[in-house]
């Protein structure tokens, strides 16, 4: 699943990466060479302003680096945690065609996690380090995955709404100022073009199916609509890192802009599906040329983010267990590699 990286807001737990990377630090003091530092900073700012890409070994402000690592890590974590709610239905998929699609999709998510961890590694942070931070709760993943997939229709709702929201968020990241992140996103967006479509098609089949299937689809959309809107992160005036991220061109549009874009795209799609969106205030605003929509329950958002969502513990426990139970396998392969490299080099001598 495409996952997004909502800008963690002011309530982020202190001590997490999200909480630390706020203020800009030019890195000048560390260098102890104010002139050179200032020059580097100016060159960096100019390059970013000119829409040039920053590459791994370029000089960059420490805060830019920290912000990118935080965002790429959160994005990667979201991909691999995001496998769980969908994998929950692989063994119960109701047709072999759907089963193949779902397996391929969950596999893509593992692959996308890998691309993103690789992109983060270009900044000198190893995947193991990032996984440790995920497992210990120091780094977050998209809160949406703390909601459960209760019925088969949830697989469709995730594809249509969650992936739809994520794509809206991700397409602009293909032009992110940091080269490796932008390149990973280009690959991810290309591969994910089928993810949203399969969700839409799945829901369409249910909506046009039996009464029970239609009800299942409607129920799923009712449950996933609001959390999907929350995926864009807190409103612009409450988003801690948004402004800086936009100045650095890590981010291209504000949370609220992207959320509005998503709502405007989703409304006609819901009509085509024959399903309603659970918002009585949702209506076209002629004057703005956009849809108005109801108030989002941000208390719920923060609560889920803090760990009180329906599946927070379950997701992280499964992730940790897979990692811990896999330790002996990773050790075995490493031991084998070491033995055989040694044997080979001994043979050469």
């Amino acid at each position: 699943m495409v996952a997004v990286t909502p800008e963690t807001g002011p309530n982020a737990a202190p001590g997490t990466d999200a909480g630390q990377a706020g203020a800009q630090d030019s890195g000048v003091q560390e260098l102890g060479m104010p002139d050179l530092g200032a020059q580097l900073a100016a060159a960096f700012d100019a390059a970013v302003a000119a829409d040039e890409r920053v590459e791994p070994r370029d000089w960059m402000p420490e805060a830019y680096r920290a912000s990118l690592v935080r965002q790429m890590a959160q994005h990667a974590h979201s991909e691999i945690i995001g496998m769980q709610p969908e994998a929950n239905w692989i063994t119960r998929a109701p047709s072999l065609r759907r089963k193949a699609i779902l397996m391929a999709k969950v596999q893509d998510e593992a692959g996308h996690g890998l691309y993103l961890y690789s992109a983060a590694e270009t900044l000198g942070t190893s995947r193991d380090e990032l996984l440790d931070k995920l497992h210990s709760g120091k780094q977050k993943y998209s809160s949406i995955f703390n909601y459960p997939t209760l019925t088969w229709a949830d697989v469709g709702a995730i594809g249509w709404l969650v992936d739809g929201a994520a794509i809206t968020n991700q397409v602009p990241i293909c032009r992110c100022s940091y080269g490796p992140y932008a390149r990973a996103m280009v690959r991810i967006c290309k591969e994910e073009s089928f993810h949203q479509r399969q969700g839409f098609e799945l829901l369409m089949a249910l909506s046009k199916g039996t009464e029970a299937q239609h009800a299942m689809a409607q129920d799923a959309v009712d449950r996933w609509w609001w959390p999907s809107l929350m995926m864009f992160g807190p409103p612009d005036d409450e988003s801690a890192h948004s402004a800086q991220s936009m100045a650095w061109r890590i981010k291209r549009h504000s949370n609220d802009e992207l959320r509005q874009r998503f709502v405007d795209i989703a409304v006609p799609q819901a009509e085509a599906l024959g399903l309603t969106l659970p918002d009585p205030d949702l209506k076209w605003n002629e004057e703005r040329g956009q849809h108005d929509f109801g108030a989002i329950d941000w208390a719920e958002f923060w609560d889920v983010l803090k760990g009180n969502g329906p599946c927070n513990d379950q997701r992280i426990n499964q992730r940790r267990a897979a990692h811990e139970e896999g330790a002996w396998v990773r050790e075995a392969a490493a031991a084998y590699a070491e033995k055989h490299v040694r044997t080979e080099s001994e043979a050469r001598v």
Partner: protein, 94 residues
């Protein structure tokens, strides 16, 4: 005992006649597994017909800063590029 697998850079030839290009990286315990992981990860949509894997630590790079003057010199030798030369219209095969 370490469980940490080294990082490998992956280069994929997308079809015959093209050179291998950098596709990304991955972790693997050794070269054989790196090749297989690369096949699974970077060619699962038929993107390649040949793969190279190289330990990331074995790559020597030109300079610490990719906007370095190392490459500035070549930018001021426009005569190395065919567009430098004016050819009258109508002259072909040149």
């Amino acid at each position: 005992m370490t469980q940490n697998w080294p990082l490998w850079e992956v280069f994929v030839r997308s079809r015959r006649g093209l050179s291998h290009t950098h596709a990304g990286s991955l972790h693997a315990p050794d070269a054989e597994m790196a090749l297989r992981n690369a096949r699974d990860l970077y060619t699962r949509r038929g993107e390649g017909i040949s793969i190279w894997v190289v330990p990331s630590t074995e790559i020597t790079a030109s300079s610490p800063d990719e906007r370095d003057p190392f490459f500035a010199a070549s930018a001021d030798k426009p005569y190395r590029h065919p567009t430098f030369y004016e050819i009258p219209e109508g002259v072909r095969h040149l």
